[in-house]
Symmetry: C2
DNA sequence: CTTATTTAGTTATCATGATAATCAAATAAG
DNA sequence: CTTATTTGATTATCATGATAACTAAATAAG
């Protein structure tokens, strides 16, 4: 999260960046602007997902299972390879998706410690319902921002 | 936070965006890429701040007080106008900065409900110590990313 | 003036991120 | 084979974000 509503002035950045010779002022200004915009868009998307009682993480879990080319299920550890989130948070969020009926869990025949997670029909329906508005929300933000 | 390590393919975006006519595929792809990069840089910055037992929010609080042109103190409500964060979180984090000795709090002579928050010498020293590395960290990330 | 509304700050509670530590099964090493 | 290490999942605990509801003081409205 990047909280600053007004970014540091070019002068202020310049005082530390080009003065100390560690980088380019414009590039740093661009990075700060990127972080601010991503925070704003992130908040807008969180609001969009909350209409469906979902979160960005839940959405991403559904997405990575759905888009897998050769199977319709993944292990928790495989989801973890695809999502940059800690194991306990993934575990808790998967548990919540199971509880809400968007995922089902079956034993893994290869490894008795593991399970395979697949989308239910409700999960597929939710994903189909949420995707167009997701891209539209992003598209709207990009058009309307200065 | 944007967790997806691999962004949706252009084809997948296209299926929802240009097909439904609600936006431009390239623009959406650019937005997703921006969110991913901002997440990654955010994690790197969090790691940098944690070396100083600080957070991005604490840093931003110190910054907005320090950069104020006509005064060396702000009310909590004034900080809130400058930072996109909820009142309770700001309150808690200011309390923590007071406790750590980076801020001091004095009564506001205009309004008995309010207080004025100013940097201590330790706060100014911390800010001076952390700023160059902050910009350098951002600069490094921008140079090294693909 | 008195009452109503707004503003500044605070408290309680919840949601969602992280790390550290643990258990059991699978795999590698001796 | 037996022991050591790695891997998959889980639990406990903490950090840091949010909203809702509250108090007290300041300000506006009647």
């Amino acid at each position: 999260m990047f909280f600053l509503r007004e970014l540091p002035t070019r002068m202020m950045i310049d005082r530390y960046v080009s003065a100390s010779g560690v980088g380019d002022t414009d590039t740093v200004a661009q990075a700060l602007s990127m972080m601010r915009e991503a925070s704003q868009l992130g908040r807008i998307l969180d609001a969009y997902f909350s209409n469906y009682n979902l979160s960005q993480l839940k959405f991403h879990i559904l997405i990575v299972i759905d888009r897998e080319p050769n199977t319709d299920s993944l292990r928790q550890s495989e989801i973890n390879q695809r999502l940059d989130v800690s194991k306990p948070v993934l575990h808790r969020t998967v548990a919540s998706l199971l509880d809400e009926g968007f995922l089902v869990r079956n034993d893994d025949t290869q490894d008795s410690r593991a399970h395979r997670l697949a989308l239910t029909d409700a999960g597929k329906t939710m994903l189909a319902a949420i995707l167009p508005g997701y891209f539209e929300t992003i598209s709207d933000y990009m058009e309307k921002k200065p």
